[in-house]
């Protein structure tokens, strides 16, 4: 059974913005709203645990960038969209002898949520 983590008034959620809500010192929730749908996720980057709530959000591409390693995640699919380090560190050494590299398939931890009585209820 999922436990309720947060009850967020809808008027506090901004469209096309990185909405951060701190539940307690150990838990921050990200909420994405594109005008029609709400999505909630844990702010812990699945790569190494960086605080995505301190990262950058691109409203045009609907992506959030981790401040620790620059990994870019889609707010729609929650999947890793881009690792900018591939261009900096992988490409210079790509060659016949270079070990095979595959972009990892990290995904943000999506939190179940529903709208009820003017609030977004987020469950863990």
């Amino acid at each position: 059974m999922q436990s309720s983590l947060a009850k967020i008034p809808l008027q506090r959620i901004e469209k096309d913005s990185l909405n951060r809500f701190t539940v307690d010192e150990s838990l921050t929730i990200l909420v994405f709203y594109d005008g029609t749908r709400y999505e909630a996720a844990s702010d812990v980057c699945p790569h190494m645990g960086g605080p995505l709530s301190q990262g950058r959000y691109c409203a045009r591409a609907r992506t959030v960038t981790c401040p620790w390693h620059g990994y870019v995640y889609s707010a729609e699919t929650m999947a890793l969209a881009e690792n900018p380090n591939e261009e900096i560190w992988i490409e210079p050494f790509a060659g016949a002898d270079a070990p095979a590299y595959r972009t990892p398939a990290y995904k943000l931890r999506r939190l179940a949520s529903r709208v009820e009585a003017g609030h977004l209820l987020v469950e863990g």
Partner: protein
């Protein structure tokens, strides 16, 4: 005129984590973007990399090229530091710097960090020698504090000894083969107890007396970790990792 100085302090993390952090190049211009936001690999040799990197000092970006050599398990030497582009007026034309960073582990599973900077400068710049040394020290300490903040958050989430991200197949790590030999599953380092037996105690980096250290802990540390810094004496034992925080969905860890 030649001058050398040491910067010594203790980092509250095991040696495997400290070395992995240094070789984790993916965070260089992201976590440390306030200090350095541009880097490019120029060449690589058997035991060294050559970079072009920009550092932000006194509100100005200074570009430089340098070579970094890794001597396993825990020594790093930066040398051949030159300005980039070479035609740009820069202090590099007057002051030559070579640095050596050595880590060692104590019997308390913390890391002793010893950073030695060797400076060569014309005698008429002697009045600026202390300023140069303090600037190098400040950049080094602030960079390490940012790393410590990252490690503190990871320790709360995944445990203090966790160096598993550095071992993942996809993770690009400088000198990864050497790191895996020293700190991987069949670690050569931890297989030799004589390398892990230092009883020395150096000042913890978070307890250094500089005002910029206190300022970092008060203002910047919470942004890096999402929780406030608390001095060691005032804290209760750290809370166990919250299972709500960890994400384990669809990790592609297969080589």
């Amino acid at each position: 005129m030649k001058h050398a100085f040491d910067i010594r302090y203790e980092l509250d993390m095991p040696l495997a984590v400290a070395v992995g952090l240094y070789l984790d190049c993916e965070h260089y211009i992201f976590l440390h973007r306030a200090l350095s936001n541009r880097i490019k690999v120029l060449e690589t040799g058997a035991a060294y990399y050559k970079y072009r990197q920009s550092w932000n000092l006194f509100g100005v970006a200074f570009g430089q090229t340098y070579k970094c050599r890794y001597v396993a398990p825990a020594t790093f030497v930066n040398y051949d530091i030159e300005p980039a582009p070479r035609w740009l007026p820069s202090f590099h034309h007057l002051i030559k710097i070579r640095t050596t960073l050595s880590y060692s582990e104590t019997d308390r599973r913390t890391t002793l960090s010893r950073f030695t900077a060797e400076i060569e400068m014309p005698f008429w710049l002697a009045p600026l020698r202390d300023l140069v040394c303090r600037t190098i020290e400040r950049v080094k300490i602030l960079k390490d504090l940012e790393d410590v903040a990252m490690v503190d958050r990871r320790a709360r989430l995944f445990g203090r000894d966790d160096n598993s991200p550095f071992l993942r197949a996809h993770q690009f790590l400088l000198h990864k083969d050497e790191y895996l030999k020293s700190f991987g599953p069949n670690s050569e380092f931890y297989g030799d107890p004589s390398l892990v037996n230092r009883k020395e105690r150096w000042p913890d980096i978070k307890e250094l007396p500089h005002a910029y250290v206190r300022d970092f802990l008060a203002r910047t540390y919470p942004r890096f970790t999402n929780f406030p810094h608390r001095p060691r004496a005032a804290t209760a034992p750290a809370a166990p990792a919250d299972p709500r925080l960890a994400s384990t969905e669809t990790l592609n860890l297969r080589p």
